[in-house]
Amino acid sequence: MLDLIWLLPTFPLLGFLILALAEGKLAKGPAGWIGAGSIGLSFAVAALVAVSFLQSGLESHTVPIWTWMSVAGFDPGVNLYLDGLALVMILVITGVGFLIHVYSTGYMADDPDFSRFFCYMNLFVFAMLLLVLGDNLLLLYLGWEGVGLCSYLLIGFWYDDPYNGYAARKAFVVTRVGDTAMAIGLFLLFAQLGTLNIQDMLHAAEAEWAVGSSLPAITALLLLGGAVGKSAQLPLQTWLPDAMAGPTPISALIHAATMVTAGVYLIARTHTLFELAPNVQLLVAWVGLITLLMAGFTAMTQNDIKRILAFSTVSQIGYMFLGLGVGAWSGAIFHLMTHAFFKALLFLGAGAVILSLHHEQDIFRMGAKRKQLPVGFLCFLIGGLALTAFPYTSGYFSKDEILIAALEVEGQGIWLWLGGVIGAFFTGIYTFRLFFVVFFGESRGHHDATEVKGLNIALPLFILMALSLFGGWIPVPLDAVFSHGAEHEEHHISAFMHGVMIALPLAGIAISYLFYGSGILSVEKLMSLPVSRALHRFWNSGWGMDRLYDFLFVNPFLYLARVNAKDIVDAFYDMLAALSRAGHLLIVRTQTGYLRWYALSMAAGLVALIAIGVLL
């Protein structure tokens, strides 16, 4: 059974090929069946693989398919590698992916480019599966770039609007900056260790490099560059909020559940390298912490329902990075999984709300929708509770694990922990701000909203609700993967600390209620202070990062491109041409066209020649 994992990426690939070759001439029915069905088949295979893998008790299993290339000792294969980590990932990708595909058959039902949508979606799942199954970094890189491409295509799916195109290109180019750093990391790894096979490379690194030496630090930094690009962490986080220009299922699948967590996967996959570079690992924690706080502030100031969720995603991935940075490898992956459940739920719920309100995304034009949209209400209630780590929902377990591990870091542990807990407090505020504004208070528009009908929309939502509530009890088989990491199984944490971790998110919810649920505290009064207005503006713009990058990189590039559109090097050759033309004008004066002038110059030349002959 385990040898059948090559079927996993094959089904989506076939789906993609069929839909692509049909050139959109397929009716929506068959196109939907192919698009969602291929992922369903993959999920079935993944489930079977999971069962037999867990029963076999193997630590890992490699399925070689073919040798990609073999040049001078560089011989990456197209080989699939399955271990506990990959297993969790493929289950999340195909499972959540399948639910989102089913949901999309309802959500996109009225779109004329229905089959193109599923074509890209299937290609995405194919690339994402290769990313997590590849046994070498080059195959991982293939999947890595492939998901980036699909992300680009799907963000710009509604290509009529130039803004969507801009958002899509921004996403691709910004992540490409990180990808390039990662590619350089691959060059360095190969030059130093002679292989890109992940397991061989990690063993070689352990054997050859000392802990804390510079080479593992540099390679880990370069890989981190790739990870922050893909996972929208500081300093490359700016693309994710704009990526919400795509259809909402895309935001759920790519920009919440799977692709953006690829950076977390990459670091977990190469965790040995980061353990060899403790400083870089600590940097990962700080990157995560700062990102989660910054995104938390920004999320509190947004009005667009999807942008709030986008900043929340950035913030939650920040938690995963924090987990990676403090050595809670399983905790980070566990949070990746639970986050996939509840964030997919939130996005799909948001999609249902948006569709019910005729593509309205501004939360302040909603209000009091809990009666009209009971399913959406339930989605946001359950998803929001899981997101704020309400006790015994899925998010509670995973966030707990990360924060407790943070506390155990020597020296800076208390700060990392404190930052994480404050972030959780913000999470409570912004999540329930959204919740109260949309579903309570008075209706501020779209009074006629009716719930979107259809089993293919409702069923995935209910399954995701169940997963968000109870996903915390799913055991993740990661012990073998991270066995030599620090031991986090025996947590000793004071009851007070634990109390704080539970209380602060609840306090956040309470503050939200005071401001938005009951109106006891007034937002207007708060906003009347100049300082809060300025802060609001600053946070709302994402801490001015877009402006900064425009100023530092984009505008200089555009300026240089504009002034040099004619290619300055050409001027040199134009100058040569002008010089020879000037010479021509000079000499052409001797060509009078009169016979006697030519005869005279011949005679004169003759005399001159003779004279020279005589004189010399």
Binding site: I587, V588, R589, T590, Q591, T592, G593, Y594, L595, R596, A599, L600, A603
Partner: protein, 103 residues
């Protein structure tokens, strides 16, 4: 022996004839006269060859003269043909009209 005439005299005469011909080529506007002046120059060369041949008592000089004579005849034939063409096309024999090679 015909050594009565010194070779210098013959060469000077040839030189004078050549210069006269050259002046004619340079100053005349009528193309027929230009052609005639050219003939004078050719014959001046021929004279120089004859004088040199007699000085060295070699037949080469006379052979060269015959060659020049033939050349001149051919040249006149071609030249007159061109002049007739020119007259037909431009209705003139003024050489200054033909200045299309001006750069």
């Amino acid at each position: 022996m015909m050594g009565a005439i010194p070779v210098e005299h013959g060469l000077i005469l040839a030189g004078i004839l050549f210069s006269l011909g050259l002046i004619g080529v340079l100053t005349r506007r009528n193309i027929v006269f230009v052609l005639m002046s050219l003939e004078v120059m050719l014959n001046a060369c021929g004279l120089a060859f004859i004088v040199a041949g007699s000085r060295w008592e070699q037949a080469d000089g006379q052979i060269m003269f015959v060659l020049i004579l033939t050349l001149a005849a051919a040249e006149v034939a071609v030249g007159l043909g061109l002049i007739i063409q020119m007259y037909r096309r431009f209705q003139t024999v003024d050489i200054n009209v033909l200045s299309e090679l001006k750069g």
